[in-house]
C-alpha cells in the first residue's frame, strides 16, 4: 500500500534528494582529497629529499656535518661551512630586525596618529612584496660599494681593535660578505616580524592598558611592563617566523655573500649559506655524489626551517588560545 501509493511527483522528489545527497558526498570527498594532498606534499618532499640525499650521507657519514671541505674536484663534500653561514647570517638578521620590528610595531599601535597607521604598516609590508632578487641586485651593485667604501673602513679601524668583539670586524673592506648578507636579511624579515608583533599587540585588552595609564605609567612603561609580558608568546612566535624566513632566503644572499666555502671569525669575510650554495652550484653539479651532497644540504635546510617554523606556529597557537580564553 505505502510503496504503491507513492505518486510520481513523490518519487521524483526522492530521486532528487538522493542525487543531491550523492553530490554532497562527492563534493565533500573532493575537498578532503585536496586537503590530504597538502599533507601528502609535505611527506613527499621529505621522502624525496631523504632518498636523494642518502648517497651523500652514506658516503661521508657524520663527517658530512663536521668537515670543512667542499671540493668538487675531489668529490669531497661536507656541510659545516654552509650550516655555519646560514646560522650566522640569520643570527645577524635577528639582532638587527627584532628591535627594529618592535619599534615599528610600537609606533603603529601606540604612537602614530590614526590616519598614519595604515599607510605606515602598508609601506612596511611592501618590503615583503619586493622580490628577493631585487634585494640582491641592490645589495651587490648599490649598497655593498657604498658600505665597503665609507662604513666598513671606519668600523674596522674603530671597532676592529676592541678586545673580544674586535675580531668580528676585521679584514679587508669588500662591501660584500656575511655581515652584508645578514643586514639585507634583516631588512627582508622586518615586515614579517613587525606585522605579527603589531597584530598581537592589538590583542591586549584596552582595560589592561588603561589601568596602567590610570596609575600613572608612561607609554613606554605600559608597553614594556604590560603589553610585552601579555604578548610574550606571540612575539616569540613572530620572531621564530622571521627566523624561518631568514634561514631559507636564497637570492638576496647569493648576490652579496661572496660564495666562498671557508670558515672565518670575521663577519666581513665572504662565506656561503646552504641556499646560496644550492643556487650557485646545483645546475653545474657533475656526478651523483656532488648532486646528492647538494640535495643533502637542501634536506638539512628544510629540517632546520621545519623545526623553527613549527616552533613559531606552536607559540602563535598558544597566544591565540590564550586570547580566546575568558581571562
Amino acid at each position: 500500500m505505502t510503496v504503491l501509493a507513492r505518486s510520481a511527483a513523490q518519487r521524483s522528489r526522492s530521486r532528487q534528494a538522493l542525487r543531491s545527497a550523492a553530490a554532497d558526498v562527492l563534493f565533500r570527498n573532493v575537498t578532503r582529497v585536496a586537503a590530504l594532498l597538502v599533507l601528502a606534499l609535505m611527506i613527499a618532499i621529505l621522502v624525496v629529499l631523504v632518498v636523494q640525499a642518502w648517497p651523500a650521507f652514506h658516503r661521508f657519514g657524520w663527517h658530512f656535518f663536521s668537515g670543512r671541505e667542499w671540493d668538487p674536484a675531489h668529490a669531497t663534500f661536507s656541510a659545516l661551512t654552509s650550516i655555519f653561514g646560514t646560522l650566522v647570517t640569520s643570527a645577524i638578521a635577528m639582532v638587527i630586525a627584532v628591535p627594529v620590528s618592535f619599534g615599528i610595531a610600537l609606533f603603529i599601535t601606540e604612537l602614530a596618529p590614526t590616519w598614519l597607521r595604515r599607510p605606515v604598516s602598508t609601506a612596511v609590508e611592501l618590503l615583503a612584496a619586493i622580490p628577493s632578487i631585487i634585494y640582491g641586485m641592490w645589495g651587490l651593485f648599490v649598497f655593498a660599494p657604498l658600505f665597503g667604501e665609507y662604513v666598513q673602513p671606519w668600523i674596522i679601524e674603530h671597532i676592529g681593535s676592541w678586545p673580544w668583539v674586535g675580531v668580528l670586524f676585521q679584514g679587508p673592506p669588500m662591501g660584500i660578505g656575511i655581515f652584508t648578507a645578514g643586514l639585507i636579511l634583516a631588512i627582508m624579515v622586518i615586515p614579517f616580524i613587525s606585522s605579527v608583533m603589531r597584530d598581537v599587540f592589538s590583542l591586549v585588552p584596552t582595560v589592561l592598558k588603561e589601568s596602567a595609564y590610570g596609575v600613572g605609567c608612561t607609554t613606554w612603561e605600559v608597553v614594556w611592563r604590560v603589553v610585552l609580558p601579555y604578548t610574550r608568546v606571540g612575539v616569540m612566535g613572530g620572531i621564530m617566523l622571521g627566523l624561518g624566513r631568514a634561514l631559507g632566503e636564497t637570492m638576496a644572499v647569493t648576490f652579496v655573500i661572496g660564495n666562498s666555502h671557508t670558515l672565518g671569525v670575521s663577519l666581513f669575510n665572504a662565506g656561503n649559506t646552504i641556499s646560496s650554495t644550492l643556487a650557485n652550484e646545483f645546475t653545474e653539479a657533475v656526478g651523483p655524489t656532488y648532486t646528492s651532497s647538494l640535495i643533502a644540504l637542501g634536506l638539512i635546510l628544510f629540517l632546520i626551517t621545519f623545526v623553527v617554523l613549527a616552533l613559531a606556529k606552536l607559540l602563535l597557537l598558544r597566544m591565540a588560545a590564550r586570547e580566546g580564553s575568558p581571562t
Binding site: 606534499l41 624525496v48 629529499l49 618590503l127 622580490p131 631585487i134 641586485m137 631559507g248 640535495i295
Partner: protein, 284 residues
C-alpha cells in the same frame, strides 16, 4: 621630595628616549624601502623602451629586449595558478566547512603554515628530484609545478580565513531553504567570501611571479623565443639573475629594466589585492 622628582624625571627621559627609538626604527624600515625603489627607478627607467616587449634576449653586446622572458614568465605563472588555486580553495573548503575541529584538520593547517614559509629553493630541489631528474631535462612544466607548490599554501591560508568569516547564519539560512551542502558552499559561502578568495589568489600571484630560486633548476632559462613547456623556458626572474651577474653592459641594463618592471607589477598587484580585500569583504 627631591628623589621623587628625580625619579619622575628619569621615567620621563626613559620614555622619551625609547619612544624616539621606536620612531627611528620605523624610519629605518621605510628608509630601505625608499632607497630600493629609488635605485630601481634611477637605474631602470633609462633603459625602458618598446624593444623590451618586442624582441628576445640578445647575445652579449647586441640590442634586444626580453619579450621571450615575459611570455615565459606568464606561461609558468599561469600554470602555477591553474594548478595551485583550485587545490588550495578545495582544501580550504574542507578545513573551513567540513572539519573545523578535527585533529586531521589541525595537522593539515599546521603543515600548510610550514609550507607557506618553507624555503622556496627546497621546493626547487624537490621538483628537480621528482620531475627534472625523471624526464632528464629542465622544462617549463617543472617550473610551473614548483610555482604551484608555492602558490597552494598562500591560497589555502587566505581562503580558509575568509570562509571562516562568513557568518554561520548564512549557511543555516540556505540549508533551511532545502539547499544541499555543496550548493550552500558554492552559491552562498563562496559568493560571500569572493573578495577575500580573489585577494588570496592575487597575493599568491604576487608571491610566485617574483620567485627566482625554485626556477633555477626547474625551468632554467632560454635565450630564444620558445613557448614549448616541455623545454627550458625563458622567465624574468632567472633572466634578471643571469644578466645582472654578467659582465656585459647591455645585459645588465636589461636586468635593471626588467627588475623595475617586475617590482612595479608586483607592488601594484599587492596594493590592488589590499584594496579588494578592504572594499569587497563584509568584515571591517
Amino acid at each position: 621630595m627631591n628623589t621623587v622628582s628625580a625619579r619622575y624625571l628619569r621615567r620621563r627621559v626613559v620614555n622619551w628616549v625609547n619612544l624616539s627609538m621606536s620612531v627611528l626604527g620605523t624610519l629605518f624600515g621605510l628608509f630601505w624601502l625608499v632607497w630600493l625603489l629609488w635605485t630601481l627607478v634611477d637605474r631602470g627607467v633609462r633603459w625602458l623602451g618598446p624593444d623590451l616587449f618586442t624582441q628576445s634576449t640578445p647575445p652579449p653586446l647586441a640590442p634586444g629586449g626580453f619579450a621571450n622572458a615575459i611570455v615565459g614568465s606568464i606561461l609558468i605563472t599561469a600554470l602555477g595558478v591553474i594548478v595551485g588555486t583550485p587545490i588550495g580553495i578545495l582544501a580550504a573548503t574542507w578545513l573551513a566547512e567540513f572539519s573545523r575541529r578535527s585533529r586531521l584538520a589541525a595537522v593539515i593547517r599546521f603543515v600548510n603554515d610550514i609550507l607557506l614559509s618553507a624555503p622556496s629553493i627546497v621546493i626547487g630541489v624537490f621538483i628537480y628530484g621528482v620531475v627534472v631528474a625523471r624526464f632528464g631535462h629542465f622544462s617549463g612544466w617543472a617550473g610551473g609545478l614548483a610555482l604551484a607548490i608555492i602558490m597552494l599554501p598562500v591560497v589555502l591560508r587566505t581562503t580558509e580565513d575568509m570562509l571562516k568569516l562568513v557568518p554561520d547564519q548564512m549557511r543555516e539560512a540556505a540549508a533551511a531553504l532545502g539547499a544541499p551542502r555543496w550548493r550552500v558552499t558554492v552559491m552562498v559561502v563562496y559568493r560571500a567570501a569572493l573578495g577575500g578568495i580573489i585577494t588570496g589568489v592575487l597575493l599568491g600571484v604576487a608571491r610566485i611571479s617574483g620567485e627566482t630560486a625554485p626556477l633555477l633548476f626547474t625551468a632554467l632559462n632560454n635565450q630564444f623565443w620558445s613557448t614549448d613547456m616541455n623545454r627550458p623556458i625563458a622567465n624574468l626572474p632567472v633572466m634578471i639573475f643571469q644578466f645582472a651577474m654578467s659582465p656585459y653592459d647591455n645585459w645588465q641594463h636589461l636586468a635593471w629594466a626588467a627588475a623595475l618592471l617586475i617590482t612595479l607589477a608586483i607592488l601594484a598587484l599587492s596594493l590592488f589585492a589590499r584594496l579588494v580585500i578592504r572594499s569587497r569583504s563584509f568584515v571591517k
